[in-house]
């Protein structure tokens, strides 16, 4: 919202602006440990000013992809801090999660190199409702439920509004958590005997095929002593391969495999294309646990 306002202000003003070249960090996932610095250097280090401008905008959408908490995994961050951020001809826009930012702040004092640090606002119920409109308009989803009625204090009940209000509260306004909770609350209508169905109700009276339950944050299962270090590492880096996770926690790949298997069984960790990530539905619970366990989050 802040960036949109800023661009609007620029458009409204009477000054003349010229377009600056924008360079974005191209890696969707984390490069190998010894290539992290090289990748940054390749993309931003040898930047030549464009013919019509001596300034540029550089964007790193996910700073977590530029480091790994290991002996050699922070060299790219050192390089970014010491060589790139000091270049005043580049306007840097860097996106990073809260946990990653806290960690990098503790070891590299990145905040000192940033003019402005802004936190994304929490998504409200209305914003979530608007965001999910494309899906909810396409598929007939029922939001009416007795559980939602008992949770709501308002008499004039709009089921959809109440559902997303509740979803916003449970997801703490975090987009990925909201999506995961939304998906987990969907239930499909059971097929019943068609003849019986025709007898009992007309087409219009039929309930929707999909029904959304009341979204509730899952509580954290009982965890072993070392499990929290794995969860912290996944929260810190967003996504990791098994090998990267092993490097990040300083254990052997074999030890990590066993632990990860146990965490996957508990549905705390998901795996997609060799990449491990924390199940977003558990973000709030894991965050709160790590905070209570004295981690820097």
């Amino acid at each position: 919202m802040i960036i949109a306002d800023f661009i609007q202000d620029l458009a409204d003003s009477s000054y003349q602006y010229k377009k600056l070249p924008i360079q974005s960090f191209q890696y969707g996932s984390r490069p190998e440990n010894d290539k992290l610095r090289q990748c940054l250097q390749k993309q931003f280090g040898n930047r030549l000013p464009s013919p019509d401008s001596d300034r540029a905008i550089a964007v790193i959408p996910c700073l977590e992809n530029c480091f790994l908490r290991s002996m050699n995994g922070l060299e790219a961050i050192d390089y970014l801090r010491d060589s790139l951020l000091t270049d005043t001809s580049i306007f840097w826009i860097i996106g990073v999660g809260q946990v990653g930012w806290q960690y990098l702040q503790a070891i590299s004092a990145l905040e000192s190199y940033s003019d402005h640090v802004t936190h994304l606002e929490k998504l409200s119920g209305d914003q979530l409702s608007q965001w999910f409109e494309a899906v909810t308009n396409e598929i007939d989803i029922g939001f009416q439920s007795s559980a939602l009625r008992s949770e709501s204090s308002e008499n004039d009940l709009n089921w959809r509004t109440q559902y997303f209000k509740f979803l916003s509260k449970e997801s703490k306004g975090v987009d990925s958590v909201a999506v995961q909770l939304f998906l987990e609350t969907l239930q499909i209508r059971e097929e019943i005997d068609k003849e019986k169905e025709n007898e009992e109700s007309s087409e219009d009276d039929q309930p929707p095929i999909l029904q959304a339950k009341l979204p509730i944050n899952p509580s954290l299962p009982s965890l072993g002593g070392e499990d929290v270090y794995f969860l912290y590492s996944l929260l810190l880096h967003r996504t990791l391969t098994e090998l990267q996770l092993a490097q990040s926690v300083g254990l052997s790949l074999l030890d990590v495999k066993d632990k990860i298997q146990a965490l996957r069984k508990l549905r705390l960790v998901e795996q997609q294309d060799n990449l491990l990530r924390l199940n977003p539905a558990y973000y709030p619970a894991v965050y709160s646990r790590l905070d209570g366990d004295n981690f820097l989050v």
Binding site: R69, S70, M71, G73, L74, Y103, A106, I107, S222, Y229, Y232, S233, S248, V249, G250, R289, D291, G292, D293, N294, F295, L296
Partner: protein, 290 residues
């Protein structure tokens, strides 16, 4: 001859005194009935069971809640024990003794004298334990060193404490050590305790590079508490250079795992960088110690 007369008076005086004490004791004790004895046994059993139950419950709950509350809950255990014990003693005394003001004064001196001789150390430990509850030189969960023993305080009893050493031995130490021994407490009720890991390298090793490596080793350990400072202290010795990495683990309980993790990863990096360790003969070591 005046002797027999004096002896007679003395004997009579001692006799009177004994009779008086016997009468006082008679006044002090209430009638002992079978019901009272049964009640007393029940009180003792209930107090014992309650202490064990509360101990177990508080320890169980402290291991399941957020770590920041773990030590606070555990530190509550001695107070709960003391409360149960005091209540049981008061109930027992109330059943068997007439605790009037006169009686209390009468027995105080006698009891104090008896305890002073027979249970001097025991009473000293109990008093030290009671004072320790409020002065708190150590609490449950703290990592302390008393004399030669170092470890985590596992329990705080009436007479003494129990330490779990790094070798997993349990050492019982009476509380009265606080009168005479210096007590070194590494964390004083907080979750973190500073861990110092020493590294020994040859004089030729680039000290600045080693220092940077050690900082990075601590910054990338899963156990390190990054809210607290990391420091590297360098000391020159005759045989080489001593590097001390001082950092805090997130949980003091992981002290030894933390030290191992730091050592393993630092040595791996030293190997990659080609640093060598001091090569000492037994004579060098003797000279260095001297």
């Amino acid at each position: 001859m005046g002797f027999p007369k004096v002896s007679f008076y003395l004997a009579q005086s001692v006799g009177d005194s004994a009779q008086e004490t016997a009468e006082q004791a008679k006044d002090l004790l209430t009638e002992i009935t079978l019901i009272k004895v049964v009640e007393a046994i029940v009180i003792v059993i209930v107090a014992f069971a309650l202490t064990k139950l509360l101990d177990r419950f508080l320890f169980w709950i402290s291991e399941r809640i957020a770590k920041e509350w773990r030590l606070r809950v555990k530190q509550f255990v001695p107070f709960v024990r003391m409360l149960v014990l005091t209540s049981a003693i008061v109930l027992l005394l109330n059943r068997f003794l007439n605790l009037s003001q006169q009686n209390v004064l009468a027995i105080t001196g006698t009891v104090a004298l008896a305890l002073g001789f027979a249970f001097k150390d025991y009473v000293s430990s109990i008093i030290a334990g009671l004072l320790g509850l409020f002065e708190a030189p150590y609490q449950i969960g703290d990592r302390i060193k008393i004399g030669e023993d170092y470890g985590e305080v596992m329990s705080y009893g009436l007479r003494g404490l129990r330490l779990r050493t790094p070798n997993d031995d349990i050492v019982s130490i009476p509380h009265n050590k606080i009168w005479t021994e210096a007590i070194s407490n590494a964390n004083m009720g907080s979750l973190e305790a500073q861990v110092t890991t020493s590294f020994y390298l040859e004089h030729y090793a680039d000290s600045e590079q080693v220092r940077n490596i050690l900082y990075r080793v601590a910054q990338t350990s899963r156990y390190t508490q990054l809210k607290l400072p990391i420091a590297v202290v360098i000391e020159e010795k005759i045989w080489g250079t001593l590097f001390k990495l001082k950092a805090y683990p997130i949980d003091a309980r992981n002290e030894f795992d933390y030290k191992t993790d730091l050592t393993l990863r630092a040595k791996k990096k030293f190997r990659e960088c080609g640093f060598s360790y001091p090569n000492l003969t037994a004579m060098d070591l003797e000279n260095a110690d001297g």
